[in-house]
């Protein structure tokens, strides 16, 4: 097994690296593979931009904020879908932050060790359920419940806010937001729990030893210490919510108009593409790619911010614990 390759090369003398690039054919193979991956990503990005080009050259950029989507009349506007995306994500996060944070706190500090693993896995398994199954379940099991009980109840209690006008359809923003909440909950909980659990024990004990109650310890020391990481968890979960397609498409009611009530049907950028792509051609197709581009930009920005926030606290937070996105 002795070969010339054992002599140190420039690669191995490079300072700072734990390992260095190997030499010879092996190096070539690795570089080719990495290059292929980069090529794939570039090809992907280029295709989206290229396919969207026609509509931007026709209508400039402003069309993104127009409120009417009617391809038959050659009218294109993404505002209803941008709003729908934001609204469903907002509903999801309004629910996910307290419930996710509370669950993460419970898992990290309140639950006895024996039960901790089981419950933690249970919440994480929520992430494994395919999106289409959530969509089907939402449509068949939850939508009637929403129509019969949840929406009337919310209208009666919160109707004064003006957010709950209109008929009780079951499908719509509320249900979509709720399904999204369920789908991003595992992300929120898993990352928050990891961030909360690495708060040094000495901090916790130091606060206890001063006469703080358990909640005071959690609030003033643990949550404060984990702030940045928790913000990262929030952002990562938001990123997932923004990109979710199939489950939302099944329960959001698919209206092309701006929704004026939380109960109303709506659509997101992702569901718009999902529902219309099969039949679209020409300008409409370009417009759908335009919507895809907008979605991509939003999603990438949010995810990049999230990674920056989380990486500082917990190390490689990406990798194997991924959540289904569509």
């Amino acid at each position: 097994m002795v070969t010339d390759d054992t002599k140190p090369t420039d690669g191995e003398r490079r300072p700072g690296g734990r390992r260095s690039l190997p030499n010879g054919a092996w190096r070539a193979i690795l570089i080719v593979v990495a290059g292929l991956f980069v090529a794939l990503v570039v090809w992907f990005l280029y295709s989206i931009v290229d396919q969207a080009r026609p509509i931007f050259s026709q209508l400039g950029i402003g069309w993104i904020f127009h409120a009417t989507w009617n391809p038959n009349k050659n009218q294109y506007g993404l505002l209803p879908f941008i709003l729908g995306t934001i609204e469903t994500t907002a509903i999801a996060m309004v629910l996910a932050v307290p419930i996710g944070l509370g669950t993460a706190l419970a898992l990290a500090y309140l639950v006895p060790p024996k039960v901790k693993a089981v419950l933690g896995s249970a919440v994480e398994l929520l992430a494994a359920v395919p999106s289409i199954v959530y969509g089907l379940w939402g449509l068949v099991a939850l939508a009637p419940l929403w129509r019969e009980y949840v929406e009337p109840f919310l209208s009666s209690v919160l109707g004064w806010t003006g957010l709950f006008n209109g008929s009780d359809d079951g499908v719509g923003l509320l249900l979509a937001g709720t399904i999204l909440f369920i789908m991003v909950l595992p992300t929120m909980v898993a990352i928050s729990r990891d961030v909360l659990a690495v708060v040094p024990r000495e901090q916790v004990e130091g606060a206890m030893a001063l006469g703080a109650t358990r909640w005071q310890v959690l609030r003033k020391v643990v949550l404060r210490d984990a702030r940045t990481g928790l913000l990262g968890a929030f952002t990562l979960a938001t990123g997932r919510a923004l990109g979710e397609t199939v489950a939302v498409a099944l329960v959001i009611g698919n209206s092309d108009y701006i929704a004026h009530s939380l109960k109303a049907p709506s659509a997101t950028l992702a569901s718009l593409i999902f529902n219309n792509f099969g039949e679209a051609s020409g300008t409409e197709l370009a417009a759908l790619f335009g919507a895809g581009l907008v979605l991509l930009v939003i999603g990438l920005a949010v995810n990049a911010a999230a990674r920056a926030l989380v990486r500082g606290r917990v190390g490689a937070a990406g990798g194997a614990t991924s959540v289904a996105v569509a």
């Binding site: 130091g206 606060a207 206890m208 030893a209 001063l210 020391v221 210490d225």
Partner: protein, 287 residues
């Protein structure tokens, strides 16, 4: 219950009483008893970690818990401010009294107790997201103190007592992480002092520090005697000799549980210990 070994005291140690009556302690102190331990034992999930501990802690004195690692010193110390409460498998038996209060009594509130019995830890643990000032008053805030005047007064007083005031008084808003290791530990001492506890527990407070910082903190501990009663765990015999008035020597027995071997005035424990095991330890034959 006796923790004394059966051998005759050396001649001249006549002031020690109680070997035969079961009363364990040299009866020479005039001071008041701040804490009284009787038959204290701590077990985790049924396995005893430390047992048969009985001694008195006297007001304004420094009591050291010494012994080789594994002898249960820290476990015992943490039982005194109920730090084991969060460990589900922990069971503390025996009697621990702080003044008139039964530390483990049903009517005793642990959070109120911990304002009376403070703790300083082995590694300095100032709260990183808080400033120096906020660290100093953290304990007060936890205990519901709101008045700015009282907070400021307590912060200054405790930082002065910790010999930190002069170096930080102009930068109270700076983050605690800007301090050196020794300074951080002194901040933690100030933080513990600010709630005006009656007893201060110190768990090897200098073992994570360099020799110079260690020396400064040992001096500090000596000065703090007037303000609080101190119980300090140390694995450093010289430190115990330098700093403490009384010493409790613990050792792991054959059942892997630590037990109190001997408790007496420091000078006596190191020069004329009663128990041969103590003699071995102070002569450096193990641990």
């Amino acid at each position: 219950m006796t923790t004394e070994s059966v051998h005759t005291p050396p001649a001249g140690a006549g002031a020690d009483v109680g070997l035969s009556t079961g009363e364990v302690f040299p009866d020479r102190h005039e001071g008041d008893v701040v804490m009284r331990l009787r038959d204290v034992a701590v077990a985790f999930a049924g396995r005893t970690a430390v047992r048969d501990v009985s001694f008195d802690v006297y007001n304004h004195e420094i009591t050291a818990l010494i012994g080789p690692s594994g002898s249960g010193k820290t476990t015992l110390l943490r039982a005194l401010n109920r730090m084991h409460d969060t460990v589900r498998s922990a069971k503390v038996t025996g009697s621990i009294r702080l003044g008139d209060t039964d530390v483990y009594g049903p009517d005793t509130d642990p959070t109120l107790l911990r304002a009376r019995v403070g703790m300083v830890f082995q590694r300095p643990n100032p709260f990183p997201t808080m400033s120096i000032y906020e660290n100093a008053v953290a304990g007060l805030r936890f205990n519901g103190v709101r008045k700015k005047g009282l907070l400021d007064e307590a912060a200054e007083s405790s930082l002065v007592a910790a010999a930190l005031w002069d170096s930080v008084k102009d930068r109270l808003k700076a983050h605690a992480s800007t301090l050196s290791g020794g300074e951080q530990q002194r901040l933690c001492i100030a933080r513990a002092l600010a709630v005006e506890p009656e007893v201060l527990l110190m768990d090897e407070p200098t073992s994570a520090l360099d020799p110079i910082a260690t020396k400064r903190i040992e001096e500090l501990i000596g000065e703090l005697k007037d303000r609080v009663t101190i119980i300090i765990v140390t694995h450093n015999m010289q430190q115990a000799m330098r700093v403490s008035d009384q010493c409790a020597f613990l050792l792991m027995g054959d059942d892997k549980a630590g037990e109190l071997i001997e408790f007496s005035a420091t000078s006596k424990l190191f020069s004329q210990p009663e128990d041969p095991r103590t003699l071995d330890y102070v002569n450096g034959r193990f641990g």
